[in-house]
Symmetry: D4
Subunit: 236 residues, 8 copies
C-alpha cells in the first residue's frame, strides 16, 4: 500500500452501542492483520471472540494473551475472563446430529462468552423423534432456543410447534448433493410451517449465539430499552 | 404441418409392458390433440387418467365418454370402470396441510384408478406433532406411504423415522419466497436424514400414486417378477 | 375425496403449547376449507389471524364474525378482541421504503393482535441515512426491532451496528432483475456484517411479527421458561 | 464442551421401528465420535453399515470388530454377519456407466446387508441401447430396480417405459459443467416422462438400496403392514 | 425519442454474408416497429420469417403481404415464395411428445422456408422405445436430425447412440417443477452421454431449424467454403 | 396503520448531497402514496422523474402538474422544466436491438432530465457488426457510453475494445429460456473480456442514465470534488 | 462386487452405428477399469480417444500401446494411426483467448483423429475486433467452425453474423465470479442474437470436435444418409 | 498443436484505441505462454499489469524485467515506470473490511499504474457507521469512488446516498454460505436503492480500477471525446 490509510480500524465503541466488543472474523486475514487487530481489542476488553479461526491463527493470537482458548472443530478462539452474568434465563442449544456439533458449539461458546448460561441438547434429530420428545420438558425452561441442523433442516419446524420460546434456526452444511452445501437447509428453515422461527446463515453458530444473547440480555430496568453496556470493557 | 407425420402416436402396448395404459398429460395440448388421443385410449382401455387437465379439457373428453369424472383442484380427469383390485395392501396418502390436499388427491385417485385401496390422512404436518403421532398406529398398517408436504417439506423425514414401509415423498409448491415454488421442499426431502425415502417432482401427485401402485402391485406368483398385465385392457 | 379422512384438523392445543392459536394461511385454500377452519378457530379463540388473505376470502370469513378486520395491502384478516397486554416492552417495526409498508404492516398487526405494543418507523432506508439516524434514539427504546427492506436489504446491517436489541430482518420482494423477487435481499441479510441478526422468509411480515412476539413475551416469573398460556382462549 | 450433554445418542430402537439399525454417516465425524457410536451399535447388532467412510475411519472401526469389511470406491464399511433373507424377490442394481459403479455398489451392498438378494447389471447406458435391451428379460424378473446414472440421467426414463417394477433412480455426480455436480441428472430424473419413477439424492446409493429394501421387505403376513422386526438384533 | 436516431436498422446484407435474410423476433416489438421492419425486409426478399409472433402481430404484417402464412401454436409467421432447394439432403425433425410439436414445427418450417426438405417424426419419446426404434431406419437417411424434447430431455441421448448424423437437440419448456421451465432439459442435453450432440436454447425451434439449414446447405463447389448466397433475394 | 408514523418521508435534501432530487420508484406504490410523494417533490423541484410508472399512475400525477410527460414503453413519467446544461460532454446511448429501445429510452431521458445532452444509436447489435463499426467514429466523441443489450449481452464487450470512454452496460430481459429474464446478459456483461466496463441491474435504464450523469457532471472547478448542487431546486 | 456382472461392457458396434469407436471418459475410472476398457478398444480399432485423462492414466494406457500420444493441457490421450481422410472440407477451430487453448486443442485433435483437416485460429476474441476481422476471409472457407470462448462467451455471436457455416460454440470455464465456472458463457451462447448457433457443454472441446466431425463427414453418395462406416476398424 | 496458428496474438494497438495497453490475465496460462506475451508487451510499453498472477508466474516475468513489482495478496504484478499523470482528480478506493483489502489494492494499484492519484479509505463498513461518516468530507473531494465490500455488500448503497461522485461497486467473495462466494454481494449491489451505482464482477478490483481510470481520464480538450492516447507507449 502506497499511502496514508490504515488497513484496519477497530470499532472500539461497538460495545457501548450494541453490548459486546467487535468480534474478529479470521478467514482471509493475514497473520499480521490479525495480530494488530487482536492486540487492539485485547487492550480494551477482557473477553474476546475470534471466529473461523485456524489453528495457526489461534497460535498467532495466543502469543498476545496466553489465556486465549481454542475450540478446534468450531474454529473458535476466545478469551472468557469477565464472567459477569448478563442473561435473564438459560439459552438452550440443540443439534440434530453429531456432525452438527461444531456449529452448535460455536453458538454455545459465543453465548457463554457474552455472559449467558447455556444448556446443550445434542443428537436429537427428527428421524428419532422419541429422543427429541424426551427433552421437551427441559427445553420448555429455556429463554431462547438455538436449533442447529443440516441435511433437510427439519428440527426447528418440529421445535417451533412444541415450544413458545424464540427459536433461532441454524442450518449447517452437513449433507451433500441436493443439500447444496447447506443452502437447502437454510431455505427449508426459512420456509418453515412453524410460526415465528428466525434463521441465520449456514454454519453461522456465532450469529445464532449472538442473536440469542441479544434476546436474553437483562435490561437495566425491566421493560426498558436496549442501551449498550460498558460492563465488560476493561477499566483503562 | 405440411407432410406425412402424425402428431401423436399413443403407446397402446404400454399396459402390457408396465401394467397400466398410457396416461394423458393435458397441459399444452390443444383440444383437438386431446380428443384424438383420448378417443384412441378409450377405445382400448376401461380406465383412463388425464393429469393437469383444465375444466375445459375435461369437457372436451366428456363428450367421448360421459362416465368420465373430474377432480377440479387436483386437475384430474379419470374413468374408473374396471375396479379389479390389483394391490397387496393399503396405500396411505398423508398430507401436511389442507393446502396440500389437491396434490394428495391426485396421488390417491391415481392409485385407486390403478386398482389400489387408499387411506387418506390429511393435515397432520410436523408443527402439530401430536396429530401425526395419533395416526402412527394406522400408518404402520400401510403397505406404502405417500407423504405430501409443501413449505419446508419436513413430514417425510419424521415419518421415515417412525415407519418401516416404503415412503414416497411429494413436495408441493405451497409456500412463497425461499420455498422457490416447491424446489426447496423437493431438495429438502432429497436431503432427508431419514433413510430410504424416495422423492417425486414438485406437485407430482400422479407420479407418487403411480410409484405406490408399482410397489403395491400383486404379482402372479409371489417372489416373481413384474410382467405387465393385460387385465384392465378392454376386450376388443 | 372418496373416504373417511377429514381434509383439515385444526391444532386447537397450539395456544397452550406455544402461546398463540393456529393462524390461517389462506393462499390456496378453497372458500369451503377456509370457512370450516375459521369457524372452528373462532369457536375457541377471541383473536384470529389469517394471512395472505384475498378480499374475497376475507368476505367469506366476515360472514362468520362481523368484527373481523382487513388490511388490504398486507392481505391480513384479523380479529383483535382480546387486548390483554402480553409484551415486556415495545416492538419497533421499521421499513426502508414506502413500498415495503404492506409487509411491515403485516408484522406490526401480527404483533399487536398477539398482545404487543408496536411503534412504526417507515421510509428510513439507507440511501437517506440522516432519516435513519434521527430515529436512532427512539429505536434504542425498543425491546425488539423488526427491520423490513427490499432491493439490496441493507437496512438491518446498519441497524445491527447501532442497536443492542434483537433484530428480526424481513426481506421484501420489492425490486426487479438481480433482486430475484427478494431472494437477493434475503441472502444479503443472512450475510450481514452486523452480528446477531436473524432473518425470516421473503415478505414474511407475519413470521417476523410472531418472532418478535415470542421474544417480547412476558413470562409468569422472570427468568422462567416459556410455558404456553391459555389467556386469550375463549372461555367455553 | 463445558456441560452435561452427550454429543451423540444412538437410536437403538430404530431397528424395531423401521426394520434396520441406525446407519453411521461418517463424513464430518471425528475418530473419537465414530468409535463411540460404532461401539454402541456393534454391542446391539450383528450387522452394521457406515457410509461415506474414509479408509482411515474404516481402520478406526476395524479395531472394534475385525470382520468389518470395506468397499473403497463406494466408501462403505459394513459388517454382514446376520444373513437371514428378508426380501420377497431380487433387487436389480443397474448402472449407466463404469464411473457410476461406486454408487451402484453402495446401493447393492446396502441392500445385501439388509437381507436382500441383489443382481448387478452395469454399463448399460442409453447411448448403447442394444446392451440395455439385451438385459430387459432379466430385469423383468426383479422385484425392484435401482437405476444409477450420471451425466443427463436418462437411464431410468428408458427403464420406466420397459418395466413394471418400482424403479428407484439414483443420479450421480459423474459429469462436469452443465451437469452441475449431479444436480442436472437429479432434476432430469425428477422430470422423467416415464411414470412412477422415484428419486434419491445425488450419489445416494445407500438411500436407494435402503428404499429398495423397504419395498422388497417380506411381511409377516401377506397384505399386512410394516411392523419393524427385531430379527437381526443381537441377542443380549 | 427526442433526436435523430432511427430505432431500427435492418441488416439487409445479412443474406449475402450468412445465406438468409434477417429474421424478425417479434416479442416486445410494437406494431409500428414491426410494420416498418417487415416492410423493409419484404421490399428486398421473397421469403420472410417472423418468430414469437402473436396472432395480432401476424395480422399487422398480413396487411403488407397477403401471402404471409401463420402457424399459431409455433407462433411463426412466414412467407415462402422462393422455393429453390438449397439443401444437400433431408432434415429430420423428431419430437418426444405431442406437446413438443409447436417447437418442432417452428424448426421444421424454418428449415423449409430456408430451402430444405423436412421429414417429421413426432411423439417417439424414450418411454415408448419401440416407437423410436421403428423409425431408426428412416432417421438414418437424414442429413441432419433435429431432436425436440421437454421434461428430462432424454431423446437426443438415445438418438445420439443410434445415428451417425449431426444432431441438434432442442429442449422445450414442457414440464413443471424440477423441469425449471425447460432449463433442466437444456442442461441434461448438454450433459448427454452420447457424443457430438449440440444444443440450442429452450423452445428455440427456430434456432435449431436454422442450424440444420446451415449444416445441410449445398455448396457451390463441393468441399468449398460457405459464401453467402444472394439467390433468394428479390431482383430489384 | 394504527399509530403515529408517516408512511413516507421524502428525502428533500438529496439534491444538495448528491446532485439530483429523489426519484420516485412507482411499482408497488398505491395511488394515494404516489400522489403525496409527488406533490411534496413537485413543491420543491422543477424537474421530476418517476420510474416503472404505469399509465394510470402517470395520470394520477398529471393532475398535480399538467406539464408532466410520459414515455409509455419506458414507463417513465418526467417533468423537464429546468433545462440548465450540467454535463461536460455528450452521453451516447446505444442499443443492440429494437426490442431494447424502451430501456435505452429510460436511460436517455433520465440523463436528459438530469441536464445532459444525449445521442442515440439504436439497433447496432453484434450480429451485424458493420452497423456498429459505422458508428465507431461518432461514439468516440462521447464522454460516456451507455450500452443496452439483451439476449447474450455481447455489445458492451465489443464496444469496450473499441472505445476509451467509460461504458455503462445495461442488460435487458429481452430473450427467453437460457436468458433467464436477463440474468444471463447481466452475468455475461459482468464477465466481459473487455476491461473497465461496469454494469447496472437488468432493465435498469434509469440507473444507467443516472450513473452516466454522475460521470458527466461538470464540476464547479475542474479537478475538484463532487459537492451537490442546488441549481435545479425550486426557488421557494 | 459379489456376483456375476462385469463392470464394463464396451460398445464395440458403436463405430458401425455412428461412425467412430467408443471414446473413453477417464475421470473417475480406476486404473484397472481403464486398462481393461482400453485394451478391448485397442484390440478392435486403430484409433483411440481418451478424454479428461490424467498424466498417470495416460501412462497406464501407454503400456498397452506405445504409440499413444498425450496433450497435457487438453488432458487428451489419443492414438492416430488410421489417417484416412473422412471430411468434406476443413474444420476451423477458433479461440477467444490463450487460456481457452486447451479446450480448443481438445476439439481440434478430436476432429483430426476422426479423420478431418483442422485449421486453428487462436486468440481472436471480441475485445480486439480487428484480429477477428483479419481472419474472416480464411474462416469463410471452413466447412464447420468451432468457436471456443470463456468469460462472457461473445465470440460465437460475432462469428454467427459474419459466417454462413455451421458454428459449434464451446463455452469454457475461464473466468471467475459472475462467470459461474463457465455456466454464464454457456447460457450466453445459448441466448445468442446470431441465428443458428448450437452449443456444447462447458469445456467440452471433445463434444465440439465430434459434432464438427459428424457435420463434415463425407457420405458414400452425395445427398445420401448417415450410415456408420467400418473403415477405421481394425481388420480382425 | 499440429499446425500453423500461433497460440496468442497480443493486441498491440489496444493502447491507441482505448488508452491503455493490453493487460495479462494470468490464471490458466502456462509459464511459456505467459513469458511470450509479457515479452511482447514489455517490448512496446513502459507500464504493465498482470492480474490473478501467482508468485511463480511473477517470478517467470521478473526474469524479463527486474523492475516488475508484485502485490502478493492482490495477486498483481506490475511495472510502473511511466508515471505521467492522466487523471483529472483523485480516485478514492474504499473498503468495508480488512479482508476486502486485497481486492481494494488491486483496484488502487491498477488506477495508479494507469496514471491516477489514489486515496485509500479502508475498514469503514456499515456496521460501524461513525467510521464511514468521519470520512464523508474526504470522500466528497474524490472524482470517482471505488467501493469494495463482501458479505451483504451494503457499503455502496450508503455511499450512494451521501456522495455525488460516480461510484463503482466491487463485491468480494468474503463471506460464506448465503453469500454464495460473493454472488450475493454482487446481486445486492446491483439491486441498490441508491441511484446510479454501477458494479463490476466479484473480486474484480482490476476492472473497478480500470473503470475509474476511464472516468477520470483527462481529455485533450475539455468536453471532447475519448480518443486513445499513445502517450505511455514506448518510443520504438
Amino acid at each position: 500500500m502506497t499511502n496514508q490509510a490504515a488497513e484496519f480500524w477497530p470499532d472500539l465503541q461497538r460495545e457501548e452501542r450494541i453490548g459486546f466488543a467487535e468480534v474478529i472474523y479470521c478467514e482471509g486475514k493475514s497473520d499480521e492483520q490479525l495480530a494488530k487487530i487482536a492486540a487492539q481489542l485485547l487492550a480494551h476488553h477482557d473477553n474476546l471472540l475470534a471466529t473461523r479461526c485456524s489453528q495457526r491463527q489461534y497460535e498467532v493470537m495466543l502469543t498476545l494473551n496466553n489465556k486465549l482458548k481454542y475450540h478446534a472443530s468450531a474454529r473458535l478462539a476466545y478469551l472468557h475472563e469477565d464472567k459477569t452474568p448478563r442473561g435473564r434465563g438459560k439459552i438452550a442449544v440443540v443439534s440434530a446430529g453429531t456432525t452438527d456439533v461444531p456449529v452448535a458449539e460455536e453458538a454455545a461458546i459465543t453465548a457463554e462468552v457474552m455472559g449467558n448460561q447455556v444448556e446443550r441438547h445434542y443428537d436429537i434429530g427428527v428421524a428419532g423423534l422419541h429422543r427429541l420428545l424426551q427433552r421437551q420438558e427441559a427445553l420448555m425452561q429455556a429463554e431462547v432456543v438455538v436449533a442447529v441442523a443440516g441435511m433437510e433442516g427439519a428440527l426447528p419446524s418440529v421445535l417451533g410447534g412444541l415450544l413458545a420460546a424464540p427459536i433461532i434456526a441454524v442450518p449447517t452444511s452437513v449433507g451433500y448433493g441436493a443439500n447444496l452445501q447447506g443452502i437447502t437447509a437454510l431455505l427449508a428453515m426459512l420456509s418453515s410451517c412453524a410460526p415465528g422461527i428466525s434463521v441465520v446463515n449456514v454454519d453461522n453458530g456465532f450469529g445464532a449465539g449472538y442473536a440469542a444473547a441479544r434476546i436474553n440480555r437483562k435490561r437495566g430496568h425491566e421493560g426498558g430499552g436496549h442501551e449498550g453496556t460498558r460492563r465488560d470493557t476493561k477499566a483503562h
